[in-house]
Amino acid sequence: VTVRRTAVVDEYTEDGETVVLLEDGSVLALSPLASFVLALVSERPMEPTQLAARLREVFGAPSGDPSAIETTYAVLATLHGHGLIRS
């Protein structure tokens, strides 16, 4: 299963943080991790395992629980919950 971005009305990124304006008019400031994931899937659709590998490269492996893949799924669930990605 690959993950891809959905369209937003507007977005702005600075210092690794992104803020988006959604179709429903709400504005959402994303964490650096979520901003990074959104940027990755903006370039091309990716599988969660690929995303987890890229997150490990950039942010390092999470210490203890949760694992990188669990962290990735949590971020994806958040982004999906706000309608920013789809599978």
Binding site: E11, Y12, T13, E14, D15, V19, L21, V27, L28, A29
Partner: protein, 272 residues
């Protein structure tokens, strides 16, 4: 929409007793009144925005004071409050998609024309700051900062809506009746602050907010955000050019005065 009686005097009353023209955020508004009492009340409250010489201009907005009177159950004060809300709402709507409009109190240094935009929800103290610090600097508005891309702000010296103890309807009071200075012509944004009022706070605490969370916070106070092209970038540009968003946590208005002085790089002027 106005009745047909807008265009013709009734009961032998001169036409001017039935209408008031004013400018709100550069928008010419005609209010058709229900008679001399409403006309007088509107002219008094909106004294700083009155337009007596139309110079051939046609109003962009026409409001019917008779409808406001009916909606207020026949209360003159209530109808003036309703009309004040409608004037602001229609003026803001007129600029939707064009100006960045923040729910804010704005004060300016009358000499340098530098302005501070103080953003915050209803009840945070915008009107109190306007009616107090507006005597020391100049009152630009207590409602909407309409900011153009060059950071200029159109003055909107509307009546201040003041709560009266034991009275459900707010009084609409002209800035001059409160001893406030008003300023003509555009002013320029020098600083943007987010107001946070905490009872008992000692002095005013000023904190910088980084750009992305600042945009998310400010967006809650922008009218017609999604109607603007690239609104988030517009907010970012405003913040970059004014030193970023600062949150002022305060308890008493007097504690805000030195902060305003510092951000405007000016000293308050004593006396009216």
């Amino acid at each position: 929409m106005p009745h047909a009686s807008e265009q013709t005097a009734s009961a032998g009353m001169p036409l001017r007793d039935h209408e008031v023209h004013l400018e709100a955020l550069g928008v010419l508004v005609r209010i058709v009144t229900d008679g001399p009492a409403m006309t007088r009340a509107l002219r008094a409250a909106w004294a700083a925005c009155l337009v007596d010489d139309l110079r051939g201009r046609q109003p962009a907005v026409v409001l019917d004071g008779r409808v406001a009177m009916a909606d207020s159950g026949g209360s003159l004060d209530g109808s003036i409050e309703i009309l004040t809300q409608h004037v602001t709402g229609r003026a803001i709507g007129h600029h939707a998609g064009e100006l960045l409009m923040l729910h804010a109190c704005v004060l300016a240094d009358p000499l340098t024309r530098r302005a501070i935009v103080m953003v915050g929800p209803s009840g945070v103290g915008k009107t109190t700051l306007a009616r107090t610090l507006g005597k020391r600097w100049a009152y630009v508005t207590d409602e909407t900062a309409a900011i153009d891309t060059d950071l200029s702000v159109l003055p909107y010296p509307k009546p201040l809506s003041l709560v009266r103890p034991g009275v459900g309807v707010k009084a609409q009071v002209a800035p001059s009746d409160l001893g406030l200075r008003v300023i003509e012509g555009p002013v320029e944004v020098r600083a943007v602050v987010l107001l946070s009022r905490v009872a008992g706070a000692a002095d005013a605490l000023v904190e910088k907010i980084s750009t992305v969370p600042a945009i998310a916070t400010l967006s809650e106070h922008v009218s017609y955000l999604a109607r603007m092209p690239r609104p988030l970038t517009r907010l970012a540009t405003l913040l970059h050019r004014t030193g970023g968003l600062r949150r002022i946590t305060y308890s008493e208005w007097a504690d805000v005065e030195p902060v305003v002085a510092r951000l405007l790089d000016s000293r308050p002027v004593e006396g009216p």
